[in-house]
């Protein structure tokens, strides 16, 4: 759900869309290669998906979550949105360890140019969990967080938050 009234909301929304695009590529990879058959790590398309996944999970998700937890949630909690911010923080806590594990497996596989059946099975399971958790989390943020930003945060504060987010 777009809330163009808020600059910060728009920035967060754009990142949500980028994350969904990444998750779609990951889902396509999982669909093509079942949990039992590890893919060929020499395939350039597979390498690209894994390296994009690793880069995004290492950098973008932690940056996005960090901004929300450090700057946005405290502000919204002070404006009375305590329940929502705690719920979203709990979801971050559930997503991050999964993202870290996936990024680690992807990194190791890319470096070794191969992946063991056991590692691929683990990657497959974790990636499915990540896709579902992230999609559900984004749904909630699009519906709840961005609406709260547009409704409760004034233009000056919104501009300040947007500047911080762009600088990260």
């Amino acid at each position: 759900m777009l809330h163009f009234d808020s600059q910060t909301g728009r920035l967060l929304h754009d990142e949500h869309m980028a994350t969904i695009e990444l998750l779609q590529a990951l889902e396509t990879l999982l669909d093509r290669h079942g949990a039992k058959k590890a893919p060929d790590l020499a395939d350039p398309e597979i390498r690209l998906t894994l390296s994009n996944t690793e880069a995004s999970l290492n950098r973008e998700i932690s940056r996005h979550f960090g901004f929300e937890e450090e700057h946005l949630f405290p502000l919204l909690a002070n404006l009375g949105q305590v329940g929502m911010t705690y719920m979203l923080k709990a979801e971050h806590d559930a997503i991050l360890p999964v993202a870290v594990d996936i990024a680690r497996i992807a990194h190791d596989a890319l470096a070794a140019w191969t992946i063991t059946p056991e590692s691929w099975k683990q990657f497959h399971e974790l990636a499915q969990e990540l896709i579902e958790r992230e999609a559900c989390h984004i749904q909630k943020e699009e519906m709840g967080l961005l609406a709260a930003l547009a409704a409760l945060v004034d233009a000056g504060e919104d501009a300040r938050l947007a500047t911080i987010f762009r600088s990260l």
Partner: protein, 427 residues
């Protein structure tokens, strides 16, 4: 400044997320009334084809669907979803609970009275339902007051609330008219009551909340705001024309209202189709089959409404309009959305600091939903054919199919509830 966990801060500070018991109590009630509606239709000996109102089991089944299923689900969803849109909590949690304890027993009493012909029960039930719905309207209007976010959704809800009040007033007038007989044309007034209730109250809620829920569930951008404003304006104008035409007995005005409604519906479907085309989520699942089927039934209902107003089809086909409208568009759309909202809402309530939130897929039993979807669509299709060919035998077949669908949805809800309880206990 970081968000340090503080249990005392979180406790009792659910802000926009109501206690789970509030929305789920309404949903449980709607699911129960859905079973009752199809059961009453299956067991009824009254003819359905060509039915044009009055008292009895068929009207009881209709009101179990409208008041029991649609209104109860709308109240539960409205209390939970609207604060998300307005970023303001419901003013009184106790008030929202009270509206349930007025409306839910009220529906049982009202429809029970209609079915068995006990006027005292019908009147008492109607009074309770009217009180519950009025309380809902007051709390919702209060939530909208001063809210700045999502103006399009708010305006849809405002029109829905005005329609709700008109529905309640007309319903109570019709009830008194059954005994006193003061209305010049009871049937026309009943038609206006049905149109304002279905297209006005429920319809505007469905159109308004669709602009949030469809993008959210499909992970897509919001619909075109200008298109949404046209939908709202055309639908509201159509409603006014239909209401005035119905009360004044001017068929051309009612036909004009249906045509405006049709234009609004087609624009709404265009906007939603564009949203879905640009979605990020590839697999939409069976819920969107129901939502799309609902759109087709909405268009069919409005075309038939226009034809009925102009006497282009025989008047007994008004029953067909009821089928296309209530179990058709409204129930089909409602269950399409409800099957996705309930697990997401359950997961949100299970997401607390320090605990790993369950996956929505782990809470959602898919098989009962598949059975529900197939059986419900089959029930609507068979009921449509039954009314067209005037077969009471086929009506009962449709009712049994509807009952299978209703029971399947109840099984889905029961499994979801059990899984949520296991999660809450840390299983």
């Amino acid at each position: 400044m970081s968000l340090a966990f503080s249990p005392s801060m979180a406790a009792g500070s659910l802000d926009r997320l109501l206690p789970a018991a509030i929305p789920f109590r309404f949903f449980a009630s709607a699911i129960t009334f859905n079973i009752a509606a199809w059961l009453v239709l299956a067991l009824s000996r009254d003819p359905v084809a060509g039915h044009l109102g009055g008292k009895g089991a068929v009207v009881a089944a209709l009101h179990l669907m409208t008041l029991g299923v649609l209104a109860m689900a709308a109240m539960g969803a409205g209390y939970q979803l609207l604060p998300m849109a307005t970023a303001r909590p419901v003013r009184s949690v106790r008030g929202s609970a009270t509206s349930f304890w007025l409306a839910s027993p009220g529906v049982a009493l009202f429809t029970g009275g209609l079915a068995v012909g006990v006027d005292a029960a019908t009147h008492a039930g109607a009074a309770l339902v009217a009180a519950g719905l009025t309380l809902f309207a007051m709390l919702t209007a209060d939530n909208l007051r001063g809210a700045a976010a999502m103006p399009l959704v708010r305006r849809h809800v405002q029109v829905a609330l005005v329609s709700l009040i008109a529905t309640i007033v007309l319903g109570l007038i019709l009830l008194v008219d059954w005994e006193r007989g003061f209305l010049p044309d009871h049937l026309a007034a009943a038609g206006a009551h049905a149109a304002v209730a279905a297209y006005g109250f429920m319809g505007m809620l469905v159109l308004g909340f669709s602009t949030i829920l469809v993008p959210m569930l499909a992970l897509a951008q919001a619909p075109d705001r200008r298109l949404g404003q046209w939908v709202l304006a055309l639908a509201a104008a159509g409603l006014v024309l239909t209401l005035l035409g119905g009360l004044a007995g001017v068929p051309l005005a009612m036909a004009g209202g249906a045509v405006l409604g049709l234009a609004a519906a087609l624009l709404h479907i265009t906007a939603m189709t564009r949203v879905i085309k640009r979605r990020m989520k590839k697999q939409l699942g069976p819920s969107f089959l129901l939502i799309r089927a609902g759109w087709c039934l909405l268009v069919a209902s409005l075309m038939l409404a226009a034809a009925l107003s102009l006497d282009l089809v025989p008047s007994p086909w008004a029953t067909l309009l009821g089928v296309l409208l209530v179990p058709g568009w409204l129930l089909t759309s409602l269950f399409g959305f409800l099957q996705r909202i309930m697990p997401i809402l359950a997961q949100a309530h299970l997401t607390v600091p320090g605990a790993r939130p369950p996956l929505v897929s782990a809470l959602t039993p898919e098989m009962p939903l598949k059975i529900h979807g197939m059986a419900h669509l089959a029930a609507v299709a068979v009921l449509t054919v039954a009314v067209v060919v005037g077969s009471e035998w086929l009506v009962r077949v449709a009712a049994v199919l509807g009952l299978v669908a209703a029971l399947s949805f109840a099984v889905f809800a029961a499994i979801l509830y059990r899984r949520a309880l296991v999660c809450r206990r840390g299983g």
